[in-house]
C-alpha cells in the first residue's frame, strides 16, 4: 500500500482505480488492520496494568484462595474495573451516550455533550503539527527526537512576541505564529548544521538540546522582561488577545476548540503538497530512502539535512505557540515538559501514522483522545492518567513490529508492510 501511495500515480486510469481499490481493501495484510490490531493489543496491555495494580481487583482474585469467593466474582470485579476505566476514557474523549441522548431528546446541554470532542480536537491540534514535523524528518531518514524542545522554544519565542509587542490582530497573530515557527526552526537548525557538517548523530544532539531548552525556558520565565510583572513564580506575561487563537464557537460556547484547527489544516495541506508533489519534498524522500542514490543524482545532502531540521523544528515550534496561544495564553516553567511532552507523543504519532499526513491526522486524533480520555478516567475512577501514555507506547511498539502482531493474531503469512524508516547507527 505504501508503495502505491508514495509513488506518482501511473497515468492509466484503470491502474489508478485498481490501486485505489487495493488501498481500501481491508484484509489481514493491510497496514490499517495491523494498526487496528496494535490498538487492540495496546488496550489489552493497559487492561493488564489496571488489573495488576488496582487493589479491588487484586483483592477479588486473592479472595478465591482465602475467603472462598468465586472465580466468577473475581472476573466480574475485573470486568467492572477495566470496563469503568475504558468507558470513562471513551465518554471523556468522544461522547457520553447518556448525555448525547439527553441532548438529542431535549435539545439542551449540547455544550456538555460536545465538550469531550472539543477537548480532543484542542489537544490534537498542536499534536498534528508537531507530528508532521517529526514525520517529515523520519521520511528523510532523520530522527528528530528534539521536537519537544523545539516546541518549547517556539512557544517561548511566540509568546514573547505575542505578549511584549502590541499591534493589530491582522499583523499580530500571523507574526506571533511566525515567531513560534522561527523559534523552533532555530532549535532545529543547530542539530541540522552539526549533523551536516560534523556528522554528530542527531539523536544525541537533539536530546541534549531538549535539556538546554528546558533550562532556557525556566531562565526566560524567571527573568525580568518576560516574567509576569509582580510575580515571583515561573510564569510569563499573558499573550495579547490580538495574538491569541480564539475559540471557534466563541468564548460563550464553553468549547475550547479554536482557530488552531485552521492552522493545523493548513499545515496538513502544506505537508501533503510538500512531500507528495513538490520537487524538494521528492529530494527529501529520496535522501531518506536511499542516500547513495540521492547523492549520485546530485542532491545536496547537507542542504537537505539542514532544511529538514529547519522545517521539522519550525513545525514543532509552531505547535508550541499554537498550544500556548490557544489554551493557556501564557507559559510557565512546566510548559510541555515531562515524559508525556508533546514532542515525545509526536514521535509515537508519526510512527503510528506511518509518516504520511493523512495517517498522522488520524493517529493524532486517536492519541489526543487517549490523552483527554485518560484525564477523564483519572477523574472518574482514580486510575492515573499516565496509563494513557503507557497504552500509547504499547501501541507504537506493536505497530513497529508488525510481524509480532501477525503472530499473535495468527494472520495468514501475507507480506507485511514494514515501517519504512530506519534510523542510522552512530557511525553513519
Amino acid at each position: 500500500m505504501s508503495e502505491v501511495a508514495t509513488e506518482p500515480a501511473p497515468s492509466a486510469p484503470s491502474s489508478a482505480a485498481s490501486a485505489a481499490r487495493r488501498r481500501w481493501r481491508l484484509n489481514s495484510r493491510s497496514p490499517i488492520m495491523i494498526t487496528f490490531y496494535a490498538l487492540l493489543l495496546g488496550l489489552v496491555v493497559g487492561a493488564l496494568v489496571i488489573i495488576t495494580t488496582t487493589p479491588a481487583v487484586l483483592d477479588a482474585w486473592r479472595g478465591i484462595f482465602h475467603s472462598g469467593g468465586g472465580i466468577f466474582h473475581a472476573l466480574k470485579v475485573t470486568w467492572d474495573n477495566v470496563g469503568a476505566a475504558y468507558r470513562a476514557m471513551f465518554n471523556g474523549s468522544v461522547v457520553n451516550p447518556v448525555s448525547l441522548w439527553h441532548s438529542v431528546t431535549t435539545g439542551q446541554n449540547w455544550e456538555a455533550t460536545l465538550t469531550p470532542l472539543s477537548e480532543t480536537l484542542t489537544y490534537a491540534t498542536p499534536l498534528i503539527i508537531t507530528s508532521l514535523g517529526v514525520g517529515i524528518a523520519f521520511q528523510t531518514g532523520l530522527f528528530n527526537i528534539g521536537a519537544n524542545g523545539q516546541a518549547v522554544l517556539g512557544g517561548v519565542a511566540g509568546a514573547m512576541f505575542g505578549s511584549m509587542v502590541h499591534m493589530p490582530m491582522f499583523f499580530h497573530l500571523p507574526l506571533t505564529l511566525l515567531c513560534g515557527f522561527a523559534g523552533g526552526a532555530i532549535a532545529g537548525l543547530v542539530p541540522g548544521v552539526l549533523k551536516a557538517y560534523t556528522g554528530a548523530h542527531e539523536v544525541i544532539v537533539t536530546i541534549m538540546f531538549n535539556y538546554v531548552i528546558y533550562a532556557f525556558l525556566l531562565f526566560s520565565v524567571l527573568s525580568t522582561p518576560f516574567q509576569l510583572p509582580g510575580q515571583q513564580n515561573d510564569i510569563s506575561r499573558t499573550i495579547d488577545p490580538s495574538a491569541q487563537l480564539h475559540p471557534l464557537f466563541g468564548v460563550a460556547s464553553g468549547l475550547r476548540v479554536n482557530y488552531g484547527v485552521v492552522v493545523a489544516a493548513l499545515v496538513v495541506a502544506f505537508a501533503w503538497w510538500f512531500l507528495e508533489r513538490s520537487s524538494m519534498g521528492f529530494d527529501f524522500r529520496v535522501t531518506g530512502a536511499n542516500p547513495a542514490a540521492a547523492k549520485a543524482s546530485g542532491i545536496n545532502a547537507k542542504a537537505v539535512i539542514i532544511l529538514v531540521f529547519v522545517i521539522s523544528g519550525g513545525l514543532s515550534g509552531l505547535a508550541g505557540i499554537v498550544q500556548a496561544a490557544s489554551t493557556t495564553h501564557y507559559i510557565d516553567g512546566g510548559f510541555l515538559i515531562g515524559s508525556a511532552g508533546i514532542g515525545f507523543t509526536a514521535i509515537t504519532v508519526a510512527l503510528l501514522g506511518r509518516n504520511k499526513p493523512g495517517g498522522i491526522v488520524w493517529a493524532s486524533l486517536l492519541f489526543a483522545a487517549l490523552g483527554v480520555g485518560g484525564r477523564a478516567m483519572q477523574g472518574a475512577t482514580g486510575i492515573p492518567l499516565d496509563l494513557a501514555s503507557v497504552i500509547q507506547s504499547a501501541i507504537v511498539l506493536f505497530v513497529a513490529t508488525p510481524v509480532l502482531v501477525k503472530e499473535i493474531f495468527r494472520l495468514k503469512s501475507a507480506p507485511v508492510a514494514k515501517l519504512e524508516l530506519a534510523t542510522k547507527g552512530w557511525g553513519a
Binding site: F216, F344, I347, A400
Partner: protein, 428 residues
C-alpha cells in the same frame, strides 16, 4: 583486537585540529575571564577535609591558599600549551586524554575564580573533597549507564533505553529497599528489572528486527509513564513502599584515611565499590577473554562471526540483558543516593551516560573518564550558585548538555562505532 585498534587509531587531522581549537578556546577564556578577572590581591583557598567528619575521617590536611590570578594564569597557560601541542603535533593517541585534562583544568580555574576573596562570593573556599564526593554520586550513575552502553553496543545493539532502565531500577530498588531494608536485595531487583527491559529491547531488535533506536525511545517513554502511573497508584496510597533510605557508607579501614582520595574512593556505598569492580571486570572480559573477542566480532562483522560458528543472536541477547541489568543497578544506585523514588527525576542522566560512552570511544576506561568529567560538570552547575556567580542558575544548568553536544560534534565521526552497531542482523 589489533585490527580494531589500528583502524580506530587512524585519526583525521582536521578533527584533531578542531579539538585542539576547542581546547585553545577554553584556555584563552580561562586566561581572559578567570585569570585577568581576578584582582591581583585576591586569593582562593582549597580545603581537603570532608564536611562530614565522622569516625572515619581522613588524616587532617591543612588549607592551601593560592593567589587567584597567579594560579589561574598558570593553569590557563598549561591549557593553552596543551592545545598548541595538540594542534602542532597532532598525536595519534591521547587526544581525548588531553581534552579531558583541559576540561578538568577549566573547571578548576572556574572554581578558583569563583572562590576568590575579596570577591562577591560568600563562600571563600573550595572544598575539593566535598566537591569530589558530591559529584561522585552523579559520576557513579553515569558509569553504570555508560558501561551498560558499552556492553550493548560492542555487541552491535544500540541501547538508548538506559534512561528507562534507570527509571525501572530506581522504582523497584526503592520498593525493595523500603520493604526489606537491605540494599543487596534492592540491587538484585534493579538488575532483574533492568535485565528484563534489556530483554524486551533485544527481543524486538533481534527477533523482529525492529529499529533499535525507536524501540529504545518508546521503552523510555513507556517506563517513564508507567513509573509515574505506579507512583500514584502504589506509592501514594502505600507510602511505606517508598520510605526511601540512603545506602550506608562502608568505609574501608586505613585506605579511607588517605586525604582526599580516601573519602572519595574508599568511604562510599556498596554501589560505588560494585561500580569499581564492574569497570575492571568488563574491561578485562571485553578485551582479554574469548567471550570478549566473540562480542567484539559480533559487533563489528556479525556475518563473519557467524561463519566461524559464533551464535550472533545469542551473544547479542546475553550482552543486551547484562547491559540492561547493569543500568538497572545504576538506577538503584541513583535512588540510593537520592533517598526516594520520584517520577522523572533521572532527568536525562541515561542519555548523558550514552554520550559519555561515545565520548569514551566505546571503551570502559574512556567511558569512566567521560563520566567523571560529566559528573563534575553536572554537580558544579548546581553548586556554583552558592558562589554567587553572576550567571543564572538555569544558564549554568545548560552546561553539561552543551559540553556533551560540543564533544559529540567534535568527536563523533572521528571515533568509530562498532561497525554493526544498530544494524539489524538476519541469519540466512
Amino acid at each position: 583486537m589489533s585490527v580494531i585498534e589500528s583502524t580506530a587509531a587512524v585519526v583525521s587531522n582536521r578533527r584533531v585540529r578542531v579539538i585542539a581549537v576547542m581546547m585553545g578556546v577554553l584556555g584563552v577564556f580561562s586566561l581572559i575571564v578567570f585569570a585577568v578577572g581576578s584582582p591581583s590581591v585576591a586569593h582562593s583557598s582549597f580545603l581537603f577535609n570532608p564536611v562530614n567528619l565522622s569516625e572515619s575521617a581522613p588524616w587532617h590536611v591543612g588549607t592551601l591558599t593560592l593567589n587567584s590570578r597567579l594560579a589561574d594564569l598558570v593553569l590557563a597557560l598549561i591549557m593553552i600549551g596543551l592545545a598548541v601541542e595538540t594542534y602542532v603535533r597532532r598525536p595519534a593517541r591521547g587526544v581525548m586524554v588531553r581534552f579531558g585534562g583541559v576540561a578538568v583544568l577549566f573547571l578548576l580555574t572556574l572554581l578558583i575564580w569563583a572562590a576568590r576573596t575579596p570577591g562577591p562570593s560568600p563562600v571563600s573556599f573550595v572544598n575539593l573533597t566535598a566537591l569530589l564526593i558530591g559529584s561522585s554520586e552523579v559520576t557513579m550513575v553515569l558509569v553504570f549507564g555508560s558501561l551498560s552502553g558499552v556492553m550493548c553496543e560492542r555487541s552491535g545493539v544500540v541501547n538508548i533505553a538506559i534512561e528507562g532502565q534507570f527509571i525501572g531500577g530506581a522504582f523497584v530498588g526503592s520498593m525493595l529497599a523500603s520493604t526489606t531494608h537491605n540494599f543487596f536485595y534492592a540491587a538484585i531487583g534493579g538488575a532483574l528489572i533492568g535485565g528484563a527491559i534489556g530483554w524486551i529491547l533485544a527481543f524486538f531488535a533481534l527477533r523482529y528486527l525492529s529499529d533499535q533506536i525507536i524501540v529504545g525511545v518508546v521503552l523510555v517513554t513507556m517506563l517513564g509513564s508507567l513509573s509515574s502511573y505506579l507512583n500514584l497508584q502504589v506509592f501514594t496510597p502505600f507510602p511505606q513502599y517508598n520510605t526511601g533510605n540512603l545506602a550506608p557508607n562502608l568505609a574501608i579501614p586505613l585506605l579511607s584515611k588517605i586525604p582526599v582520595l580516601g573519602p572519595v574512593l574508599f568511604n562510599q556505598s556498596g554501589f560505588f565499590y560494585l561500580m569499581l569492580v564492574l569497570i575492571g571486570v568488563i574491561s578485562f572480559a571485553l578485551f582479554k577473554t574469548r567471550y570478549g573477542l566473540h562480542v567484539r566480532a559480533v559487533g563489528e562483522h556479525p556475518r563473519a562471526a557467524a561463519t566461524v560458528g559464533i551464535d550472533v543472536v545469542r551473544v547479542r541477547y546475553i550482552n543486551v540483558i547484562l547491559g540492561g541489568a547493569i543500568a538497572g543497578i545504576g538506577g538503584v544506585a541513583f535512588m540510593a543516593s537520592q533517598g526516594q523514588f520520584q517520577p522523572n527525576y533521572t532527568s536525562g542522566l541515561g542519555y548523558i551516560a550514552l554520550a559519555a560512552m561515545i565520548f569514551g570511544r566505546w571503551r570502559p576506561s574512556g567511558a569512566v573518564v567521560a563520566s567523571v568529567i560529566f559528573g563534575l560538570s553536572v554537580y558544579l552547575s548546581y553548586t556554583l550558585t552558592s558562589y554567587q556567580v553572576p550567571v543564572s542558575l538555569y544558564i549554568l544548568q545548560m552546561f553539561p548538555y552543551l559540553i556533551t553536544i560540543a564533544v559529540v560534534a567534535g568527536l563523533i565521526g572521528r571515533v568509530r562505532a562498532p561497525a554493526a552497531d544498530g544494524v539489524a542482523y538476519q541469519h540466512d
